[in-house]
């Protein structure tokens, strides 16, 4: 099986793999730049409104802030989640394993709106509360998958690595993490995709991002605004999801090839 999958990956395979995410990203870019050109379409949706294209902020600016919020939350979540997952699977941290598992699933029980509302009194209005809410909400998939990925590594492989004279750090770095990487990446993918949609909630506490047109649309009864926000967020989520998909497949190919 290993040989076969190695020969399947032809030299030009990567460019074909990137086809789908590139289409989504191109669509997203086209919508960002060309939203005013679609005015006729939105006029048809909302014939009576004074204005049909959201213009309180440029779309690329909203997109930039949306991506920024999600990436900051993702970077922190990945760092904390993977570190916690590694720490509790070591010999010394094993005592914490059940608690961390329970804690991560407890985090998913807290509804993001409630976390957002509770974070506002402490952190004030703006971008910070939504980042905290996203971090808490996105932690579970990453911690769960890191634990699963590392625990699933065959004990005999680890023993073999130790017998070869590897230190425990080397075993982690060169054996456990590479073997667990596809599972961890799947967790990151779930976490980021969910958070791109959830970040829109930040608009209710004054963080300006792609949720802004949606809130403005709901408040003013303007469907065109809601559509624009929803379209851009869905495209962003699909771009990220398909990009992760490609990366995951390449990782898997490399693992089975070597």
């Amino acid at each position: 099986m290993t040989r076969n999958s190695a020969t399947v990956s032809l030299p030009n395979a990567p460019s074909i793999q990137w086809f789908l995410p590139l289409i989504w990203i191109a669509l997203l870019a086209m919508c960002i730049v060309g939203m005013p050109l679609l005015e006729g379409l939105f006029r048809w949706v909302e014939p009576d409104a004074r204005q049909v294209v959201y213009d309180r902020a440029a779309f690329y600016e909203l997109l930039g802030r949306h991506v920024l919020v999600v990436s900051v939350a993702a970077v922190v979540t990945i760092a904390v989640g993977v570190a916690a997952g590694i720490a509790v699977t070591r010999e010394r941290g094993r005592d914490f394993l059940p608690l961390v598992g329970q804690l991560a699933s407890l985090g998913q029980t807290f509804p993001p709106v409630a976390v957002l509302a509770l974070a506002v009194p402490v952190l004030g209005f703006g971008t910070l509360p939504i980042i905290v809410a996203l971090m808490l909400y996105g932690l579970l998939p990453i911690v769960r998958n890191t634990l699963a990925g590392i625990n699933d590594v065959d004990a005999t492989i680890k023993e073999a690595a130790q017998a070869m004279g590897m230190t425990s750090w080397q075993v982690l770095r060169h054996v456990e993490l590479p073997l667990a990487a596809p599972v961890i990446l799947a967790g990151v993918r779930t976490s980021v995709t969910i958070n791109i949609a959830t970040a829109a909630l930040g608009a209710t506490v004054g963080a300006s991002n792609l949720g802004d047109p949606i809130i403005a649309g709901i408040v003013n009864g303007n469907m065109a605004y809601v559509l624009q926000g929803a379209l851009l967020i869905a495209l962003l989520a699909l771009s990220a999801d398909s990009a992760f998909n490609v990366y995951q497949q390449r990782l898997r190919q490399r693992l089975s090839a070597s």
């Binding site: 949706v45 005592d95 914490f96 059940p98 608690l99 329970q102 804690l103 407890l106 998913q108 029980t109 807290f110 509804p111 993001p112 709106v113 409630a114 509302a117 509770l118 506002v120 009194p121 402490v122 995709t193 969910i194 791109i196 949609a197 959830t198 829109a200 909630l201 608009a203 209710t204 506490v205 949720g211 949606i214 809130i215 649309g217 709901i218 009864g221 469907m223 809601v226 559509l227 926000g229 929803a230 967020i233 869905a234 989520a237 699909l238 999801d241």
Partner: protein
């Protein structure tokens, strides 16, 4: 390996010291939080943010000493982990939980000026941190003692009732209680609406989800289409789906009188319910499908060999065996729906989210708490309750 290594070596060392590091750390964290973070805050009225007070200011030296002593006792008990010590720690945790409202009472007595009728007491960061860490301690103790999920839930329910009594009788200076008293009727109505919306959405999606999952098992082609569609639905932010349903439903209500008579309108329950059901379908269908597929083929074959008919095999073998995983789906769906219903308040569906968004609009954080806390508690109760039910229904009893 030399021969010396292979021989059993006599041990001169004493048995190494094995404290429960987790509980030791948690106790230390609570002690630090109680001393370093703000204990309570006092505000002259509803909008102004209060001034924070530390533990010694709030409950004076004897109170602070008692609190510290309890945390130190927990740390001491966790350094020699035996089953009896764990039980003692459980007792201390309950004691701390029961003492918490008394701390607030004392602080209210000392710090709030009785001549200002609008003055109110806010709960500080130390309280929330200690409460959260105590919850973690309970989780850890439950795992160590191997208790079922019912016990902590029952204990916490008892503590909750005690708090409710204290709040109703003596804690009228607390900001949260004042907010509650100002809109008591509204609060109960909102809780009722919230539960009704979640219940309806979950109920409908359980039935629809099971039907869909069974259809998928029969028609394989449907499976791919349905999962693609439901996955795509999840990428649309809940906020947008609520918003997008406003226009078509308003149009329907205006142009189809029978629907309007049924209560369908652009704003309110109808779009909220449709969106909630749409979001609930994916976890429900996925878990039902997996649950029904995972039942082992050998068991089913044995049932067939015993002469069971198709219907009997489904209802007496496949379904009961699938039930725990299916309930897991209901749990995920219900917890998710409780959070989403809060967002539905933005389109006029009512529920506890109303308080959150009104409070955010008025910058009245205690009102936000009045909405957010019950949502959180509701989510935790549903999570624990359905989790315990799934455990109990697992073949062979509890895990």
């Amino acid at each position: 390996m030399s021969l010396i290594d292979a021989l059993p070596s006599p041990s001169f060392k004493r048995r190494p010291w094995h404290p429960n590091v987790v509980l030791l750390c948690l106790s230390g964290a609570m002690l630090a939080a109680a001393w370093l973070l703000s204990f309570v805050s006092v505000a002259p009225n509803r909008i102004v943010s209060g001034t924070a007070f530390g533990m010694v200011d709030a409950i004076s030296w004897p109170g602070a000493a008692l609190v510290s002593l309890l945390f130190i006792a927990m740390a001491a008990l966790s350094s020699v982990p035996t089953s009896r010590h764990y039980r003692a720690m459980l007792g201390i945790i309950i004691l701390i939980l029961l003492l918490m409202p008394f701390g607030l009472m004392v602080a209210g007595h000392w710090l709030v000026d009785p001549s200002l009728p609008q003055a109110r007491l806010g709960i500080g960061a130390a309280y929330w941190t200690v409460l959260f860490v105590l919850l973690l301690c309970l989780v850890e103790l439950r795992l160590r003692l191997g208790l079922s999920r019912w016990w902590p839930t029952l204990l916490l329910a008892g503590v909750g009732i005690a708090w409710w009594g204290c709040a109703a009788l003596w804690l009228d200076r607390l900001a949260l209680v004042q907010e509650f008293q100002a809109r008591e009727g509204q609060f109960y109505q909102a809780v009722g609406q919230h539960i009704a919306l979640v219940g309806t959405a979950v109920g409908v999606s359980v039935v629809l989800g099971m039907l869909l999952a069974m259809l998928m098992r029969r028609y394989q082609r449907l499976q791919k289409i349905a999962f693609t569609l439901l996955n795509f639905l999840q990428t649309i932010p809940s906020l947008a789906l609520f918003g997008l349903l406003l226009a078509p439903l308003a149009w329907l209500a205006a142009n189809v009188p029978p629907l309007a008579a049924l209560g369908v309108s652009g704003i309110g329950n109808a779009p909220a319910l449709i969106a909630l059901i749409a979001y609930s379908l994916l976890p429900m269908v996925r878990n039902t499908y997996i649950a029904l597929e995972e039942v082992s083929a050998e068991t089913l074959q044995a049932a067939k060999a015993m002469g069971m008919r198709t219907g009997q095999r489904f209802w007496q073998v496949r379904f009961p065996l699938a039930l725990p995983v299916l309930l897991e789906g209901v749990r995920i769906t219900a917890v998710q729906a409780i959070g989403l219903t809060a967002v539905a308040a933005l389109i006029g569906a009512g529920g506890l989210g109303t308080f959150i968004f009104q409070g955010l609009g008025q910058a009245a954080m205690d009102m936000v708490l009045l909405g957010a806390l019950p949502i959180l508690i509701l989510a935790l109760i549903v999570d624990a309750g359905l989790g315990a039910l799934a455990d109990a229904l697992r073949p062979g009893g509890q895990e």
